[in-house]
């Protein structure tokens, strides 16, 4: 084909929220570059970049993104936008956290009440954030490690959770949408990004019997970054085009499009490169 095409791995939330469906056609219109999107778990998306399968990644796990760049897989992380996490729960709110701002305190109350809590448990950005929040509660945590071999070297994988796994704390190892469905079925608490929540709550006939009970904490901030894959690692990547894409995202045009994107009348993402873009 004559048209230049680049490949991008991203997390499911950017695709499922509909953001990319709005952004990409505009980008193609502006530059003539087409973007093939592969949506998957954050971990798998970063792996795609490390294996050189794509030209650019667009994810939300800041620490891992920075590691990705420092290990030389990516050229540079462009901070694109953020959205925020919210703690959801059943309308009856058995743990009584409605209206709380302090997320760690809210989780602590849930743990004390042994009210059902659904954890994504999939090492995603959301799960990483959840583990950080639990650490902040000061409750004793259980660390579970698994040993695997990579490149002949043994490596331990750690996974933290509060006591009570399997009783009130359920780790389901699935994506956001599925975690919401699960929490809804079990009428349990969970941590979710606002975009997926709005989509499930308002975008569907089936609705969702869960409400935002805790929001607004600094710690609930969820930044997204875009990173072109380093051509020094993989000579075949289309760095120029990928870099143009990244730069377009953080350009006033890209940032304005993000700021103006509304799902069911609600703003989902807040531009980070030009915070007051309109």
């Amino acid at each position: 084909g004559g048209e230049p095409v680049i490949k991008m791995s991203t997390t499911t939330s950017t695709q499922a929220s509909g953001l990319l469906d709005m952004l990409l056609p505009n980008f193609t219109k502006d530059t003539g570059i087409e973007v093939k999107v592969f949506a998957k778990g954050t971990g798998a998306a970063i792996r795609d970049g490390m294996d050189g399968n794509v030209d650019v990644i667009f994810v939300h796990a800041k620490a891992r993104e920075e590691k990705f760049v420092s290990e030389g897989y990516g050229t540079r992380r462009y901070a694109v936008m953020h959205n925020d996490f919210v703690i959801l729960g059943p309308p009856e709110d058995p743990a009584g956290i409605r209206g709380m701002k302090d997320a760690a305190a809210a989780l602590k109350k849930i743990a004390r009440a042994k009210a059902k809590f659904i954890s994504r448990g999939d090492d995603s950005g959301t799960h990483t954030k959840e583990q950080a929040l639990w650490a902040a509660t000061g409750l004793p945590l259980v660390t579970k490690t698994t040993t695997v071999v990579k490149g002949g070297i043994k490596r331990a994988l750690a996974f933290k959770h509060p006591q009570g796994l399997g009783t009130w704390y359920l780790s389901i190892g699935q994506g956001m949408g599925k975690a919401l469905t699960y929490a809804n079925e079990k009428q349990a608490y969970t941590l979710s990004d606002r975009g997926t929540y709005i989509k499930y709550k308002l975008g569907r006939k089936e609705g969702l019997d869960l409400e935002v009970l805790c929001e607004g904490d600094e710690m609930l901030y969820n930044p997204y970054g875009v990173i072109p894959v380093n051509p020094e690692k993989y000579s075949h990547v289309k760095f120029d085009l990928a870099d143009r894409f990244a730069k377009w995202l953080v350009s006033p045009r890209g940032q304005a499009l993000i700021a103006n994107y509304k799902l069911l009348g609600q703003q989902l993402f807040y531009p980070d490169a030009i915070p007051d873009a309109k």
Partner: protein, 231 residues
């Protein structure tokens, strides 16, 4: 290639450590898949016999529909069962969703067409004289079916083995209806899917290697059964 070697070593490590979590997952997998294979066989084999033996209007279209159902996607089955057993569904009060029972229900629906169509295929090629011999010697319909079953046992066994393989390797239904809850409904495949999503490919394949080892053991057992049945 490294991936495979690494995974193999990791699988051995996992098995050696007799990790309680891994054990639990393996047990859930085995329990769920053997239950659904058993139930589907108990339904599908007699159904296959009935369809193969009886001459009735719409027989060919029945077989065509069964063949169509071989292409039933797990997402459809998952959502279909979900619609019934979710909180809002008719069977909501039974609180089946996200239990092993829910997985079994979905998997049974998944493999009944496999068991049934291959039972039909296995039986329809059995020489009709077996049926006639049994009947003239005074066998009841059930006893006659027993004779034909004996003659077709390898074909039917193949159907059961394939169904077992299908469910133990199945991920969609287990994920949607079981919910992959750690310690309850996490099976080998849902665990693998999770590790894959995390990007932990080595661990995913290591679990796969364990799954294949288990499947191989089960098949050795089937093989032993067939060997005995050969006499």
């Amino acid at each position: 290639m490294n991936l495979l070697i690494d995974s193999f070593i990791s699988a051995i490590l996992l098995l050696k450590s007799l990790d309680a979590e891994v054990c639990a997952i393996v047990l859930v997998s085995l329990k769920v898949s053997s239950s659904s294979t058993l139930i589907a066989s108990l339904i599908g084999i007699p159904a296959g016999f009935a369809i193969a033996f009886k001459e009735f209007r719409g027989k060919r279209i029945t077989i065509t529909i069964l063949n169509t159902l071989l292409a039933l996607p797990t997402v459809v089955i998952g959502l279909f069962v979900y619609a019934f057993i979710s909180r809002r569904g008719i069977f909501g009060p039974l609180d089946l969703l996200y239990t092993q029972k829910a997985i079994i229900i979905g998997q049974v629906i998944l493999i009944i067409p496999i068991v049934t169509t291959f039972t039909i295929a296995a039986i329809s090629r059995i020489d009709d004289r077996y049926r006639k011999s049994a009947m003239t010697l005074g066998a009841t319909t059930l006893q006659t079916a027993g004779v034909v079953f004996r003659e077709a046992r390898f074909g039917i066994m193949a159907a059961v083995i394939a169904s077992f393989g299908r469910v133990i390797a199945e991920v969609g239904i287990s994920m949607m209806l079981g919910g992959n809850a750690k310690g309850f409904t996490r099976t080998m495949t849902t665990a693998m899917a999770l590790e894959y999503d995390k990007g932990e490919f080595v661990l995913a394949v290591a679990l796969g290697v364990i799954l294949l080892m288990i499947s191989f053991t089960v098949n050795l057992f089937f093989n032993y059964l067939q060997g005995r049945a050969r006499v």
